[in-house]
């Protein structure tokens, strides 16, 4: 800590103005008042330093001291991140609960990485090796699912002069590098300023799908590794459930879940559930790959502003190891509101709806930290960070600034619809307005790896849904009876797509996750029915008979067919064929 000391001159909620912090820079961290509250300098005018304080400022007043720290808001990166739950400025909530009680009290402080935990370090290079930034010096088995790589920090090159297997806490020196400017000691922990993105060798276009096990997403509006997506919707439309589902089932190696200004119970839900849920590919508990950042709505608003940066810095760090990382932020609107509140206290000129004029650029620069990349390091390892942000527009009004600023940057839009939610159609993703710009990437991969007509059936199914929407308009005017039989059959098939494919109950053990193969089987089963039924209708079968086939009840339950019982789909297909044939008039 630098000895310069200033003093408070003004306090207005989370904003404190101090004087006398000579030499302090923008975004430097300071400690405010005798309670030594955490704060960050966000504006400098002459000798007036505006500080956003991450804790409740009651009891702070003019004349109280302010200390510089000389360092910007930073996170600690190293073994022990996995399974942690942090607040918006990376204070470990489990340790705070253990040492300070059930409420987050002011001034409470504990290191982000537990110094009592011992890690076993296995070297990956030898004395004499030349290494550059990003090179893996050694590894630590951090959890059952994560092999934590201890890397040469950005900006350093040199020759390894000391390294060896050892057991120690994160502060233990694991290697010494001989660098141009003298020896550098490397420990298991790096510090990184959260508002700055971590460097990569190069950015690439996304090329791989991020499989989520959610049918409406994977089939119709897919996500790519390294991509960006947003989930806007009014309250209760299912944003959090979608985010939780992705955190559970997305095939990323690391999940960073940022609860930004949302409910405490939702974080508890994750904490209680994830240790018991199994990752479908490894069979290990999902918590073994998860980091949580929880700055709930009632926690200080400035720390909420910081929370998404804390989350993304952690995500980038795991990406640097060569992993695919997915970050969920629920909700980016609360983050934007935190910016608005601070901006208002700074008396900045407000832009639209009181948001600061830089809202759009902040949102864009956050999503821009996603990407498919080649990491630093001589092995040129590929990795990615995907970002999925929830947006909570007031009154569900999509014309508001946060939604609009987000739509300008993200590539996938899952629009949640309150009408669908009221009708208990979950996930309430509106199939007529949502889109994904990664469709081709995913098609290419699924057509070659799942089924060659993957993209074909998807297109056909979507066409049916669109035709249904048009026919529905007509029905509203003239009634269903006036439709021709083939249109009524089409509506029946579209309804099957909605109810038997798109509906997916997040809370049903079997329905919660569907592999791509099963998604394909399910959708092609419905289309198979439609094809046969249409031919049969032309051949004289009755519409009533076709839409009331007993086997359709089994089709409705086909989403619950276990993953390993794929042959049941073939059996159902055969039954559909046979039962429809039986409806044809005998010739």
């Amino acid at each position: 800590m630098i000895s310069t000391q200033g003093s408070v001159i003004k306090v207005s909620g989370p904003l404190v103005v101090a004087r006398g912090l000579v030499g302090a820079r923008m975004y430097e961290m300071v400690r405010v008042g005798e309670a030594r509250l955490f704060g960050e300098i966000i504006e400098i005018r002459d000798d007036d330093y505006s500080i956003q304080v991450y804790e409740e400022t009651e009891g702070i007043g003019p004349g109280q001291p302010v200390w510089r720290t000389g360092e910007p808001l930073s996170v600690e990166l190293g073994p022990g991140l996995i399974r942690s739950i942090y607040d918006g400025v990376q204070r470990p909530l489990d340790a705070l609960q253990r040492d300070f009680g059930d409420y987050v009290v002011r001034g409470a402080e504990r290191p982000a990485l537990d110094r009592d935990r011992q890690w076993s370090f296995a070297p990956a290079v030898r004395v004499g090796d030349e290494v550059v930034a990003g090179d893996v010096l050694g590894t630590v088995q951090e959890s059952k699912l994560v092999l934590h790589k201890i890397m040469v920090p950005p900006g350093i090159v040199g020759k390894v002069v000391k390294i060896g297997a050892l057991i120690g806490n994160v502060d233990t020196e694991v290697a010494v590098l001989e660098a141009p400017k003298g020896n550098v000691s490397i420990t298991m922990v790096q510090r990184w300023p959260v508002r700055q993105s971590r460097p990569v060798a190069r950015k690439l276009m996304p090329t791989l799908p991020l499989v989520t096990g959610q049918r409406v997403i994977d089939m119709f509006f897919p996500m790519a590794q390294g991509g960006t997506a947003c989930v806007p919707g009014p309250f209760g439309s299912g944003k959090t459930v979608v985010q939780h589902q992705l955190a559970k089932w997305a095939d990323a190696r690391i999940i960073v879940y940022v609860g930004c200004g949302e409910r405490g119970n939702e974080m508890t839900d994750v904490l209680m559930e994830f240790p018991h849920l199994k990752d479908p590919s490894s069979g290990e508990a999902l918590m073994e790959r998860t980091v949580l950042v929880a700055n709930t709505s009632n926690m200080p608003v400035a720390a909420r502003e910081a929370s998404v940066f804390t989350g993304i810095a952690i995500a980038e760090y795991f990406r640097d190891m060569g992993y695919s990382v997915a970050l969920m932020a629920d909700s980016t609107s609360r983050w934007a509101e935190a910016m608005r509140e601070i901006s208002g206290r700074l008396e900045e000129m407000p832009g639209e709806e009181g948001y600061p004029a830089y809202l759009g650029s902040r949102i864009a620069s956050f999503y821009e930290r996603a990407g498919n990349v080649i990491c630093l390091g001589s092995d040129q390892r590929p990795a990615s960070v995907s970002i999925i942000g929830a947006v909570s527009p007031p009154g569900g009004d999509l014309s508001e600034p946060v939604v609009q600023a987000t739509l300008r940057v993200v590539k996938v839009y899952w629009g949640l619809d309150d009408k669908l939610a009221f009708a208990r159609h979950f996930p309430a993703v509106n199939w007529l307005t949502s889109y994904s710009l990664y469709q081709e990437i995913v098609d290419a991969s699924a057509d070659s790896q799942v089924a060659k007509d993957w993209s074909e059936i998807r297109t056909r199914a979507m066409t049916l849904l669109q035709q249904e929407a048009e026919l529905e308009e007509l029905v509203r005017l003239v009634g269903v009876d006036s439709l021709a039989a083939d249109d009524r059959l089409l509506m029946h098939a579209a309804r099957m797509i909605r109810e038997d494919f798109l509906h997916q109950n997040a809370f049903d053990d079997r329905d919660t996750y569907t592999s791509l193969g099963k998604q394909y089987n399910l959708l092609s089963l419905i289309l198979h029915y439609y094809d046969y039924a249409r031919t049969a209708l032309q051949g004289g079968a009755s519409l009533d008979g076709l839409t009331k086939l007993a086997v359709l009840d089994e089709v409705a339950r086909a989403k619950l067919i276990p993953e390993e019982a794929r042959d049941q789909f073939d059996y159902l297909k055969e039954r559909i064929t046979g039962d429809i044939r039986a409806l044809l008039p005998h010739t």
């Binding site: 009891g59 007043g61 009680g101 119970n265 929880a294 926690m299 009154g395 208990r424 009634g479």
Partner: protein, 460 residues
Amino acid sequence: MAAIAREYRTVRQITGPLMLVEGVEGVTYGELADIKRADGDIRRGRVLEVNGDKALVQVFEGTSGLAPQDVKIKFLGKGLEIGVSQDMLGRVFDGFGHPIDDGPSIIPEKYLNVNGDPMNPYARDYPNEFIQTGISTIDLLNTLVRGQKLPLFSGSGLPHSRLAAQIARQATVLKTGEKFAVVFAAMGITFEESEFFVADFRRTGAIERSVLFINLADGPPIERLSLPRTALTTAEFLAFEKNMHVLVILTDMTNYCEALREISAARREVPGRRGYPGYLYTDLSTLYERAGRIKGRTGSITQIPVLTMPEDDKTHPVPDLTGYITEGQIIIHRGLHAQGIYPPVDVLPSLSRLKDKGIGEGKTREDHADVMNQLYSAYARGKEAKELAVVLGESALSEEDVLFVKFSDAFESRFVRQGEDENRTIEESLRIGWELLGMLPKGELKRVRDVFVERYYPKP
């Protein structure tokens, strides 16, 4: 740093409920102040901003009758606190925790800052214990669990108070030997509404286990800002230190938000939607998030906030932001009320988000979830058919549609409707549910597993 308790006569400006004092020293943010007039009138205030030697003070009782030259202001060196005690049960207080009934003063067991600290998310325990309210539309379709915050979204002239009182009266858990309390926080409601609650609590003896905080419509609006905090601090004390299960009723949150808007306007802050301040969400969350359970502690806080939606508009900022924080909502419907149905709960847009973890075998009954889904979808289908009939005429309805219309009418008159003193057990609600499902052929019960249809479908 304890501020030097100094008195100042340097009030320079009074605007709305705010007062600007100059030449102060050692004043801190959030600190309380006593404001005295020469004739002995004493009011309370709180520091909203300090800037150098100027302090901006919000006067809780309002500034009417104050003149700058006429007041002395004394800063107290501490934030707003309330002295709490178990003896508060059965008593009535104002928004600062001063008794306003005829009883003796309270000897506090301890003093607590009313703002509280945020509950550590890691310390929370997930709400999953079923609360039986005796109201079918809630218990069976929108189940309330301990530690949940589930608001009533209502409109002016609708019977939300009667429903809230009924819930307070009847709420039990299917377990015995536990201690309950009700904390009732009334903000800006009318004397008649308030009297209705008080009389109801007296009539049923519930008053013995209740603490009432009351600010009436003609009381100072600014007191409405401290009232729910005082009430929730008391609730936390009862729940987490006295091991009680506390039900908190906050009514009417719309009045609270208006008081907040008033302060914000007086400070000339940039207004958000409909003039409410941009931090309304954050402010509301510091109230609603005080509901919950804590690992390793017996008690719990369950909240039923009541709010009236201006023009019955769910997108108005007050219901909208509330919905973004609470765990579902119960919607009171004007149409059902007009049809004479009590309680007029519109089950289609109502939702308890925590229901899934509080129901089923061992909690309510094995078939609960299936019955819930089936009733919901059959009712939705009937309502839809009814709408169609409005456009196209009854004749456009198929035979099935007609059946579902009949079902939805019966659902409203037998399931939704119940007496104000009718306390249905979950078994009774399920029984009525099955009776109604009996109107439909078994083949239509697609959301109920076959075993349950076999077991519970009414025999002819």
